[in-house]
């Protein structure tokens, strides 16, 4: 990818050390629509203003890692991408298509909301993996993975089962296909959850602290799957506290604090050369 924002950043980085890396970095390549584009996104829960004017662009095949202290709005930002949260202001576009609303405002300036069915169709193209796995406990691993292809995409069961077994194999769990989630370890459950999301053949994947609920020795098996996905060219947005993973896999690291994107850039820029005191303090606490 010649348009890889990493290269531009890297060229700028040495002589640009003192300049703060601001959200709408003019160095970021503007040409070619980003697969994910958040523009001026705000989110308020009543009086609580949890996201403030967030801009984020993630190109196809890119891996963006969101870091920041808890309560900084990382998960909310992630959940705005697949409309589990509705932005209070701003726009979310996936492959150029506005999420949740019509493309143009109505003559009176309001925005026409999409129907629940249309929103469900938009969500179906985005895979999501949760901190607490949230597998369906009354279904086996195989049934968990087959559920959406059969009942959302209308695939024939035999085909869906074959695909699901292949996916379970890909995450190293074909021999656990007939187990219920309660019979699997946390790491295995999370890998099933990844397979379940992949079964919808999503254009991008969102990971909300996928290893935070795991015992330390189980973290690696999940990160391995994430890494393989990234190498396979999947567009990913990952909220995580695993700095080693961020450094190794991320194309773009985004640091959030108090609902704002404070710094973003390559892992070298953000993790190795933090500009703000907030980021330096945060990194000192997690590294």
């Amino acid at each position: 990818m010649s348009q890889d924002p990493r290269n531009t950043h890297r060229a700028d980085a040495p002589d640009d050390q003192s300049a703060p890396v601001v959200p709408s970095d003019p160095a970021a390549p503007a040409e070619g629509p980003a697969l994910i584009a958040l523009e001026g996104v705000h989110k308020a829960f009543g009086d609580l203003h949890v996201l403030k004017d967030c801009d984020l662009r993630v190109a196809e095949g890119e891996v963006a890692v969101l870091i920041g202290p808890s309560g900084s709005g990382k998960s909310t930002l992630l959940r705005c991408i697949n409309q589990l949260e509705e932005p209070t202001a701003g726009r979310v576009r996936i492959a150029g298509v506005t999420q949740g609303y019509a493309e143009e405002p109505l003559p009176d300036g309001r925005w026409q909301k999409l129907s629940p069915q249309q929103i469900a169709r938009q969500r179906a193209r985005i895979g999501m993996v949760f901190q607490r796995f949230d597998l369906f406990p009354h279904m086996t691993a195989l049934q968990n993975v087959m559920e959406a292809p059969v009942h959302v995409l209308g695939r024939p069961k035999a085909q869906a089962e074959k695909d699901a077994l292949a996916l379970l194999e890909r995450v190293g769990l074909a021999d656990r296909a007939e187990h219920y989630p309660s019979e699997l370890s946390g790491g295995q459950q999370q890998r099933v959850a990844i397979a379940r999301a992949l079964a919808m053949e999503p254009e991008l994947m969102l990971f909300d602290e996928p290893t935070s609920a795991l015992d330390p020795e189980l973290v690696a098996e999940v990160l391995t799957v994430l890494k393989e996905l990234a190498e396979g060219g999947m567009t990913m947005v990952v909220v995580t506290h695993e700095m080693g993973f961020a450094r190794e896999v991320a194309d773009q690291v985004v640091f959030m604090a108090d609902g704002q994107i404070l710094e973003q850039g390559t892992p070298e820029q953000v993790i190795d050369h933090p500009q703000s005191d907030r980021l330096q303090g945060f990194l000192a606490s997690v590294l």
């Binding site: 697949n82 589990l84 629940p116 069915q117 469900a120 169709r121 969500r123 179906a124 193209r125 985005i126 895979g127 999501m128 949760f130 607490r132 949230d134 597998l135 369906f136 406990p137 009354h138 279904m139 086996t140 559920e147 959406a148 009942h151 959302v152 077994l165 292949a166 194999e169 190293g172 769990l173 074909a174 021999d175 296909a177 007939e178 219920y180 989630p181 309660s182 019979e183 959850a193 379940r196 999301a197 919808m200 973290v219 690696a220 098996e221 990160l223 391995t224 799957v225 890494k227 695993e242 080693g244 993973f245 190794e248």
Partner: protein, 352 residues
Amino acid sequence: MSTTQPSPTPADGPVGPVPAAGSPQRASGAPQPSGRDADPIPGRIRAKRSPRPGTWISAVIVVLLVLALANFLVTNPVFDWGTVATYILDVKVVQGVGWTLLITVLSMVLGTVIALTAAIMRRSENPVLRGVSWAYIFVFRGTPVYTQLVFWGLFTVIVPKIALGIPFGPEWFSFSTRDYFPAFWAAVVGLGLNEGAYLAEIIRSGLNSVDKGQSEASKALGMGNGQILRRIIIPQAMRVIVPPLGNETIGMLKTTSLVLAVPFTLDLTFATNAIANKLYAPIPLLVVAAIWYLAITSVLMVGQYYLERYFGRGFDDRPGGAGPAKRGRRARQRAVNSASTTPKNSLPEVEL
């Protein structure tokens, strides 16, 4: 025996009950350990139960009470066991059992369908649906079931004709309720509507018991609200709903004795009462009815056990507790394994 095995515990702190001085005699009476398979756990604790005199005292008291009860039942002539034996399989009685069962099942099915609808309406974002559901529960839970049954019995008098048309305007189609609403259906509808109001609250709490993450995960997969309810929420809520649902079913079995308010006159209680009045022998026929109600309750409890097992699948680690889905598991597992799709340790290590 610990006399033949070196104890791994420190000599000054015996953990398990160490054999007392007289124990060699007991040990010699027990089979010799050398001839059996060696216990893989050295120094296994041989526990002697702590004395529980309460168990014995209560057992003696209960046995005495049971004997007294048996004496009372056998010697008291009012029970007239001969009459009980004569009428327990009487045609009218057995037919009464059939009608009672039929009313119980139909009114529970009707009640469950109404209750599920009402519970889902209560959760709706539509305020009209929420209001209708609230009003239904308010009225039908707040009035006696006997009153409701009398009302449904009088329905054909209160509403002799049902017509389709515009209120105060023209009428396109009408029929007489008398022809389509016999006492049997009045009983079923009356009991079902009353039961639905109670079940609605049970089902609502069951639906609320399912983790919020479940509907979020389903939404993220692109499932619609109806699908999420049907495929994800309700199957999990059933685990919580079934035990009280069983309770309500058993309650309904006995509430059916109120259908004489309609009046419906073929159920078990009415049938045994009619015979009792004819014979001037109320007690033996009450016993006949009680035996039948107990028998039906036992059958219902078995059904509840299987329902609980089915909806507990995936939640229960007890062997066989995962329900029928597990039965074909071994065969399929062998098939999956023999395909050897998963090499051992297929995951490369990631450098962190």
